[in-house]
């Protein structure tokens, strides 16, 4: 992934060689991705569910993943500085409102600024409560979520009820401009070579084409920038002095303090950045619809938080979490039948898990995995369309499953969630 490529490669090998043959994480991640692609492709071919790897699905997944990605990055900044941020949802809500309000007046640039600003204000409140007043982080976050919902409703009531530009208590006037989009020439537009490949439904090739086309056709320029925030966050947090200091506040604030690192100020900065990123996540939601709408976030702030933990408090990991969720969400919104094909995928993976557990002599786990795998397979063979209520939670169930299959090596920042008071260490 992007973070992997950001790591300087060892001498003598090119970056691509490094990805496949290099040591450690880069290689593992690459092989994992390749394996997944093969698996998906196989499942697509067997089930005949083209939506599984179509460019349309991937495009939608990207669109849905980006807000989550930004929120999760927001969480990353706060938690790396030692402040747990349950208030991401509230900050995202503030971001959507700010984007709508600024966006209808000053277009998408205004929306970006407005959303970021409003989110940052939410972050500021959290920082004041947790850093200055030492309030329990979870408690403060919950309070912010409640407060944000009231504030945006109130502001809408105040500013939109008799607004000539439109809008009302639950929505803003539409943005006066939307951010530019682009497609890769030749490959994804014009001759659209990728599209051509995709429509042939070849094993692996079409799937790859679908993936590539999905992320290169009619993609917002800002979306690309948002995705680039992942490596950017990595660089900032792990490659700069600022990042080192910020992370030190999350690992051992007393040590940082004793070296003259301004812990309080850094925590403030981190939490405000966190709010800003969450707000930007809201902005991207607004961009999708070109309008602010109450309830638009729909719990995505919490999902972003989940993606953060899913990703083990690392940029690459949280991107994977956001991507997984976005993909599952896109799929369930696109096709109830394609979701059934996921059962086959689950079955295959569980059998893999079972074999792996068996080789490690954990027979109980292996048997459980086989049992669930068999159930999934039976489901795939007998069900052709899941009822709507069940389909709707596909992404959440997927996240939960993945998390419970592989969550024991999580390592949060050591002082995450601890209230730091100078001299009371």
């Amino acid at each position: 992934m992007s973070t992997a490529t950001a790591v300087p490669t060892s001498a003598g090998r090119g970056p691509v060689t490094e990805l496949f043959l290099g040591g450690g994480r880069a290689r593992r991640v690459t092989w994992l991705l390749v394996g997944l692609l093969v698996l998906f492709s196989a499942v697509r071919v067997i089930s005949g569910q083209q939506a599984l790897t179509s460019s349309s699905t991937f495009g939608a997944a990207l669109l849905l993943a980006v807000p989550l990605l930004l929120v999760a990055l927001g969480g990353l900044f706060a938690e790396r500085a030692g402040v747990v941020n349950i208030g991401l949802e509230g900050m995202m809500i503030l971001g959507t409102w700010g984007a709508g309000w600024a966006g209808y007046q000053w277009g998408w640039v205004g929306a970006l600024a407005g959303g970021a600003l409003f989110g940052a204000l939410g972050g500021l409140v959290h920082a004041v409560a947790t850093v200055t007043f030492g309030v329990d982080h979870v408690v403060s976050g919950v309070a912010i979520n409640i407060l944000a919902a009231g504030v945006v409703r109130f502001l809408s009531e105040l500013l939109y009820t008799d607004n000539a530009a439109g809008g009302g208590v639950t929505q803003s006037p539409p943005l006066s401009s939307s951010p530019p989009r682009l497609s890769l020439p030749v490959l994804s537009s014009g001759p659209d070579l990728l599209g051509d490949l995709e429509s042939r439904h070849w094993f692996l090739v079409s799937d790859l084409a679908g993936l590539l086309r999905g992320v290169s056709n009619e993609v917002g320029v800002l979306t690309v920038l948002a995705v680039l925030m992942v490596p950017a966050a990595y660089l900032v947090l792990w490659r700069t002095a600022f990042g080192l200091r910020l992370r030190s506040c999350g690992e051992n604030p007393a040590a940082a303090d004793s070296l003259g690192v301004p812990v309080y100020r850094l925590k403030y900065i981190a939490v405000v950045i966190s709010g800003m990123l969450a707000g930007l996540g809201g902005v991207f939601l607004v961009f999708i619809a070109n309008i602010y709408r109450e309830g638009q976030t729909n719990g995505r702030g919490f999902i972003g938080l989940a993606a953060l933990i899913f990703g083990n408090w690392r940029p690459g990991g949280l991107a994977a979490g956001a991507g997984l969720f976005g993909f599952a969400d896109a799929l369930q919104l696109r096709s109830r039948t394609a979701v059934v094909a996921l059962l086959l995928l689950v079955a295959v993976i569980l059998v893999g898990v079972a074999i792996w557990q068996a080789t490690r002599r954990r027979y109980v786990q292996a048997v459980i995995a086989v049992a669930f795998g068999a159930a999934a397979l039976a489901g795939f063979l007998t069900i052709d369309q899941l009822p709507p209520g069940i389909v709707s939670f596909t992404p959440h169930l997927t996240t939960l499953l993945v998390l419970s299959l592989a969550s024991q090596r999580l390592r949060p920042p050591k002082a995450d969630g601890l209230v730091y008071r100078r001299g009371e260490h």
């Binding site: 200091r245 030190s248 050591k414």
Partner: protein, 519 residues
Amino acid sequence: MESPLNESAPLAVELRGITKRFPGVVANKDIELRVRRGEVHAIVGENGAGKSTLMKTLYGMHRPDEGEILLDGKPATFRSPADAIAAGIGMVHQHFMLADNFTVLENVVLGSEPTRGGRLDRAAARRRIQEISDSYALGLHPDSLVEDLGVGDRQRVEIAKVLYRGATTLILDEPTAVLVPQEVDELFGNLAELKREGLTVIFISHKLDEVRKVADAITVIRRGTTVGTADPRTTTAKELAELMVGAELPVAAPRESTVREVPVLRMRGVSVSAVAGGRSVVDDVTLTVREGEVVGIAGVEGNGQAELVDAIMGLRPLAAGELRLGDEDIADWSTRRRREGGIGFVPEDRHRQGMLLDAPLWENRILGHQTQPPAVKGVFIDRKGARADTARIMREYDVRAPGPDTAAVALSGGNQQKLIVGREMSAHPRLLIAAHPTRGVDVGAQAGIWELLKDARAEGMGILLVSADLDELISLSDTLHVMLRGALVATLDPRRVTPEELGGHMTGASRGDHSVGAA
């Protein structure tokens, strides 16, 4: 030893009339300190005398209420450690200030990072650290994770941190507390190196022999104020100690053995793994504690003592081996059942494992005895009974606090510890696991706790004593085991062993030299 310094050498640091008050306590009162450039200056004083507070003042961690700081004769004011660092002062704290999940490099450069084009310049940092490490013989690897380092290495990282900042004055707050004698010698080697390079070192310690060995000058602090200075070449340890405490020292009373033949704890081949299926942190330990016997475990911290204690208490599963309390196999028992079965526990870290700081004392009385009277009646808590018994403990064990309803946090460390010891004794356990029972406790309370342990032993309690204080181990134990890398490597007779010898076993320097003590 001839001092290279003379009285007229310039003062690197001078503290005049420093007073520092905390809510309800005057930690420093009108303190004077004069440190000459290029010397190793020791500050001694008992626990809570105010040494750390004074050094934190000098390091800009807080501001003195009164008094002034002079560096090279010029007044200085520090608003934060950053100011002190800029003025060439560096401090190694009593408790390490390291981020475990960071590399040595990251820990060292934090706060004054070399950057190139906005990026952290790791190459330059690595070079600098290697340089420092080489020139002061610190033996550091910039890219290893601090988490994986031992105590001695961590301390050298701390020293590197200070040197990296170009400090000319180093403060070392009780650097030897966690080191075994051999490591102490290494540290002193490092200090000599520093001195040769012209650095000034302020060195805090309780250990008077060490101080006399390494210091050029000594300042003694008692109850927050300077009581005098001493010349290490002319002052004896005893004189120093009396200056420090202001009274005669308690002496370990001669003891007669109370060991009976009945075993209370028998461990055979006990192993404990770090993680399930992982490497052993306790490796094939076999030992027996009998009634009326104190079995001491010596060892450098991190060699498996904590895990051994956890295993006995049921806080960690056994990977292998047999654990018997009296005649019963307790390996499958829960912690609660073990406590009910007669194991008392004085944990190593009282704040973490021994107390509910925000709860009143009577609730702390219940902790660990939730199923036994007088704390409970059936499924309910017996508030009255618990309160009354707490009052009794406070009386009998000299716990100084307003009453059973006082919050535990309001007690001093020593009083907290006495409450814990009293609580554990009150249940009349057959076996007491005492881990560092007097750590961080001042001399008076320490003597009291020692007495309690001896009395309990006399009444037939078996005690497993884990401690880092070699004097404590030697004076209390009937049998002394040395633990190294998870295994018991030596069994010694505490009546004949010297601290140096013990240290040799603890570091593995004298393997195979098993002097088996009286059984």
